[in-house]
Symmetry: C2
Subunit: 229 residues, 2 copies
DNA sequence: GTAATACTATGATATATATCAGGTTTTGGG
DNA sequence: CCCAAAACCTGATATATATCATAGTATTAC
């Protein structure tokens, strides 16, 4: 696989595309590549990061522990996304933990290369800003979903999200396979409740499953359900 | 009251402090001041903004209508905060509505002055970025609260938030008075449920009230409650 | 000053969801 | 291949919260 940032396609999806050739070169020289197995942690909530992680492949969950001991997944980061940016910019410890939910390959980029580029290249800063503006909007949407939709609606929505963002295999199964617990933590409910509703969806013919894999059968009905019909 | 941005104290609280003298002058020349009565709308969800609003006084709720017809308040913006930034940066229509919850005075700053400064002054861009990073973290916290805490916990938390962010009067009442409906919309519950829990808090001596005003009596216990004891 | 309208309050009931407890099935390491 | 551990499933029950209904109480408008 391509080892230089300058030639990395992943870069096209994130704010690094606004970097100049020289800046990219510096980043590329200072970066290190890391391979993670499903389940391995990249960083923990409260940890001070000294760089950001650019996802080359695989998916990571970004979650936050609530006082009652449950883990709330706030975002799933995939190819092209940069994790840890927020903490670096705010000069704070990370407010989230990152754990791989599939095997991953990520590049670690030390804080310095990012910080100096932020100071010197307004285009880059602006690009980062745009991405953050987008994330903020998504977070607002999640807040509304959490407070106004039922668990059933949120689970239906989650499946559609998984399809739209991570795609399907040839046989029509969701490419990203999450455990029931992870699904529960995405929608903010108890694992048992998530399991029950998933079974119900299966019985109703909205989804099907084969082992761990889940396939969407009736997208239209799922959509309606998510919207409250 | 001071009419020039260059001398406006409010500016110290927001990203405008990173502007140069000349930039501020331009902003000041192009801005217009607006006075709003409690209940009046500043902009609506889906509306295309052609500028941002800088709050000089009073408080505005930023909310989003959910498909089921309920309004979820995502943020309360007060003195010094800039509203509409996210939409301008992302070049999208606003995802939120802004309505005054107390009498307000705001300055409207046309998009152009902001956009050109964003292009030319990296310090300003960086400052905006820092603010947005902060907002994003807060949004993540709200997501976790929404999904993991009970309504009772969230209401307790809301009162503490109101005290810490908007202060108390001489007599020990919260300066910002919200209707029960607004409180319900902040914590994401039905108005009746909010009313019930507020009555309960009163009975238990955690808060007191006089007309519309609410005063915090036992902050410690409220805190404990919010954390789940 | 009175009518109309919004806001607050409280009870009764229904419902969604969490929790607890017991299973079965699947998975991965030795 | 087997065993232990993890993941999944299902039932019974408890609980929080929404919803519906009704009434009192402020606020505003005429």
């Amino acid at each position: 696989m391509e080892q230089r940032c300058e030639n990395c396609i992943v870069r096209q999806f994130n704010s690094l595309r606004a970097m100049s050739k020289e800046e990219l070169k510096k980043v590329s020289d200072s970066k290190t590549t890391k391979v993670l197995k499903k389940g391995e942690a990249l960083f923990e909530e409260g940890e001070k990061l000294n760089g950001v992680y650019c996802v080359r492949g695989g998916v990571s969950k970004l979650s936050k522990l609530s006082p009652n001991g449950k883990d709330q997944i706030v975002k799933l980061a995939t190819k092209g996304e940069v994790m840890g940016q927020r903490a670096i910019i705010a000069e704070e410890a990370s407010n989230l933990s990152a754990v791989a939910v599939s095997d991953m390959e990520v590049c670690f980029i030390p804080k310095d290369s990012i910080a100096t580029t932020l100071q010197k290249n307004p285009n880059f800063t602006m690009e980062v800003l745009r991405h953050m503006a987008h994330d903020l909007k998504e977070a607002d949407d999640v807040i509304v979903n959490m407070s106004q939709k039922t668990v059933k609606q949120r689970i239906a929505e989650a499946f559609l999200y998984l399809k739209n963002n991570f795609g399907e295999t040839e046989e029509g199964f969701l490419k990203l396979t999450l455990s029931r617990e992870d699904i529960a933590n995405v929608v903010g409910t108890a694992t048992e409740s998530a399991i029950r509703i998933i079974s119900e969806f299966k019985k109703k013919g909205l989804i099907r499953s084969s082992g761990k894999q889940i396939g969407i059968v009736d997208e239209r009905k799922l959509q309606d359900l998510a919207e409250g019909f």
